[in-house]
């Protein structure tokens, strides 16, 4: 899922200042699960913005709405009336959701969250990054542990030699991905894979090749 975090109230005020009728639009999918942009967070942040507005004389009028998914037309349509009756949308979706709304309405649409990464809920209230969407997945080579995302130096032929115990030398609070890769390949009996040196990756399939599009001709009519 996509993992996001909240912006502070002063940041939101800075983004919204000068506007009056604000729709705070939550998303019921990824950002709900990571406790950043669902109905509950919209309610909390809307209350906070209304309180701040009254204390600082900002005359914000904040309406709240959360739709199932902000990156999908069918659901976006459900917000049409609310979007139309407000001057500006403060989206609590991920960056994709914000842009999906902005492309469809001729009014300011702002990001209310910081979108962080593609990841998983590792343990209670802890999310970790797992994939940078490189466009050509090589997980089969590495026992299911992504060196591009989880090794700070994105090494395809690791380790770098700097790890301390099982910790990454760049971030001591994170495990060395290459330690994990080695252990995992050993556990599943595939250590042999490390004997082949991997060729440099073609980054054209990733964001470095420009913004990507996927068209499925078989599904087009």
């Amino acid at each position: 899922m996509i993992v996001a975090q909240r912006k502070s109230i002063p940041e939101l005020i800075d983004i919204l200042k000068g506007h009056k009728k604000i729709l705070m639009l939550g998303c019921g999918t990824c950002v709900t699960v990571c406790l950043a942009g669902g109905e509950r967070e919209v309610s909390i942040n809307a209350s906070a913005l209304r309180i701040a507005s009254r204390l600082k004389n900002l005359s914000f009028e904040v309406e709240e709405l959360t739709i199932e998914r902000q990156c999908d037309n069918i659901f976006i349509e459900k917000a049409a009336e609310a979007i139309n009756r407000n001057d500006v949308v403060l989206s609590f979706g991920c960056g994709a959701g914000v842009q999906a709304i902005a492309e469809r309405y001729n009014k300011p649409v702002y990001a209310g969250l910081d979108t962080e990464f593609i990841g998983i809920l590792e343990e209670r209230a802890t999310w970790t990054e797992k994939c940078i969407a490189c466009g050509k997945c090589v997980l089969h080579e590495y026992g299911g542990i992504c060196p591009i995302t989880r090794c700070a130096k994105h090494m395809l032929n690791g380790p770098c030699g700097g790890s301390r115990e099982d910790r990454c030398e760049v971030r001591a609070d994170r495990p060395c991905a290459w330690q994990l890769i080695y252990q995992r390949l050993k556990d599943i009996g595939e250590l042999e894979r490390l004997k082949t040196v991997k060729a440099p990756k073609n980054w054209n399939t990733s964001i470095h090749g420009g913004s990507r599009v996927i068209i499925r001709e078989d599904h087009r009519i």
Partner: protein, 149 residues
């Protein structure tokens, strides 16, 4: 309003398994506590959400006391620990929007601790008196937001 004449409106969310019973016991023991505290019985402090607290402040509460069971003694195992986190999170929001973080406080009380509950209520009221009324009572009050108590 001068702080001397100011009687704060305190909302006390009390868990039915501990502090609500303690409040009941305080009554049976004829312990006095001020009338400006409004006790709201909750099935567990873990039922309380950050948005409940924010709404109460939005509507003009001066302070909120969240009274749960002693740590380790929650009827639902960890409801009071969840509440503790939510109270802390609310404090962060209050500071960011310009209200004092001390306006909300979590305490842990057992059903037998009538006296400590009354002491906590009085202490919270003293804190609220010293920081003064919620500025939201005075400014730009939307028409539908009066606190009806």
């Amino acid at each position: 309003m001068s702080n001397e004449s100011f009687e704060p409106l305190l909302i006390a969310f009390c868990c039915q398994y501990c502090s609500y019973s303690a409040a009941d016991l305080a009554g049976s023991m004829r312990l006095q506590y001020p009338t400006n505290v409004r006790i709201v019985r909750t099935p567990c402090t873990g039922r309380l959400e950050v948005e409940f607290f924010m709404k109460a402040f939005e509507k003009g509460a001066d302070g909120i006391l969240v009274a749960g069971c002693l740590e380790g003694g929650c009827h639902f195992t960890e409801g009071n620990l969840l509440a503790k986190g939510r109270v802390g999170y609310t404090q962060k929001f209050l500071s960011e929007c310009g209200l004092e973080a001390q306006r909300i406080r979590m305490i842990n009380i057992s059903a037998a601790q009538a006296r400590p509950l009354v002491d906590h209520i009085n202490d919270m009221l003293a804190t609220l008196k010293s920081i003064g009324p919620s500025p939201l009572k005075r400014v730009n009050q939307p028409k539908n937001a009066e606190m009806n108590v």
